[in-house]
Symmetry: C2
Amino acid sequence: MSSNPSPASAAARAVPPAGGGSARRAPRGSARAKLIAAAHQTVRRKGYAATSVDEICAAAGVTKGAFFHHFDSKDALAVAAAEGWTERARPMFELPPHTRLEDPLDRLLGHIDFRLAMLEGPVEDFTCFVGTMVQEAYATNDAIRAACEASINAYCEALTPDIEAAIARHGIAHGVGAMSLARHIQAVLQGAFIMAKTANDAGIARDSVTHLKRYILMLFGRG
Amino acid sequence: MSSNPSPASAAARAVPPAGGGSARRAPRGSARAKLIAAAHQTVRRKGYAATSVDEICAAAGVTKGAFFHHFDSKDALAVAAAEGWTERARPMFELPPHTRLEDPLDRLLGHIDFRLAMLEGPVEDFTCFVGTMVQEAYATNDAIRAACEASINAYCEALTPDIEAAIARHGIAHGVGAMSLARHIQAVLQGAFIMAKTANDAGIARDSVTHLKRYILMLFGRG
DNA sequence: GACAACATACCGACTGGTTGGTATGTAGAG
DNA sequence: CTCTACATACCAACCAGTCGGTATGTTGTC
C-alpha cells in the first residue's frame, strides 16, 4: 500500500551510474509526484508549519525551482497533497482480499481488520496526512481545510455503501445511520493516531480500533 | 478562565499617565500564567510551529523579555503549557453535579454527557491543547511529547476509578479493562476534535461522542 | 523603621539564521 | 526553434533567542 519508495532512491540517482557515461537524471515530469510524496512523508512526521519547502525539496530530490514551477506556494502544495492523499488511499477499498466477501458486514469488518493490521511499525508510517494537516490549517487556511475535508469525506463515502448494505441485510441497533457510522470509524482512527503519537507507539492505537470493532459487532447484533 | 486583558493594554501603560493617578499595570508575577494561557489559546487555533513567540507575547500582553525570563525557550513553554493544561482540566472531574451521583456508571455517563455539552461554539474553544501539540512534536521533541503524554495519562487515570467501580458493580462485556476503556474514551474525543476541525463545526464531533456513549451503554448491558 | 544590598520581574532593540518566494539561466523533448 | 521542466542564485520578511537596562519587591542590619 504505502507506495513509499525509499526517500533516498531518487536522490541517489543523481549520482552518475557506472555505465553509459551519461548522468541519467530522474525522468522529466516526475518532480510533482515526488514533491507530493515527500510532503506526505515529512508533514506526517513534523507537521505542516514545521516542514520547510527546502526540506520537502530535499526529501523529493529536486530543487526549489521545480517546486515553484509546479506549485504557486507552499499552501498550494498542501492542497494538491491532500488531493493526492485521497488517491493514495483509494486502493484500500479495492485491493485487499476482503473486498470480495459476499456479506457487506464481513467486508466492513474486513476493512476494520485491515486498518488494524496497518497499525504497525513507526507511527509516522501509518498516520493520516490530512488529519495531521487540518489541525494546523482549519482556522487559518480554508482552502487547505476544505481539501482535507474532501479527503476525509471521500473515505467516509467509500465506506458507506457496505455499511448501508450491511444495515439492509442485518439491521442495526438504535437506528444508527450509515454515514454517521462511517464518520465515527474515521474519528476513532484519527483519535487512535493521536494516541499513538502521544505514546510514540502503535499498540495503544490498536487497542482503540479493537474497541471500535467490538462496537460495530454489537451494533449489528454479533456482539 | 481566559483572563485575557486587551493585548495592547500593557504596552499602552508604558506611556506615563498624565495625572498623579496610578497607572495600574498587571500584577507582578502574572506574566507566566498569562503566557501559558495565551499559548493554550493560540496553539489550539494555529498549531505550535505556526505560533511565534512574539504572537504569544502579544496575546498575553507581555514582552519577549518577560517570556525569556520565565522560559528558557519556546519548547520549554510548550512543556510548561502541557503541564498547565492538566491543571486546567482537573476541575472537569470535581466540579460538575454529576460527580456526586451514587452509581459510578452514572458518574461515567455523566462525564460523557458533560464532554458532549462542551462541544459547542468555535472549534478552537473546545479542542485539546496537548492533542494538537503532540502531533507536531511526537517525532521531533521528546520532552514535549512526554509532557503531552503525561497530560493525556492524567486524564485517563482520573477516569479510571469510576470505570473500575462501574465494572465491579455492573460487570462489563468481553472483559474490557478500565484503563483500556478510559484510553478509548480519550481517543474518541481526540478523533472527534479532528473531525470538528475538518468541517470547522462541532456537530460532527457530537455525533461521534454519541456513538461512544452508546458503546459504553452496550458494554455495561444498558444498550 | 530606614536604608543598603540584593533578587526577581519585566522591557524592547537587536542579531544571526531560516523561510517562503522570485528572477534568471539551461537542458532536453518535439 | 520553442516550450516545458527543471536548476541556481538571490532576497526581504520573519523567527527564536540575546542583552543591557529599569522597575519593583525582599531581606538583613542597625
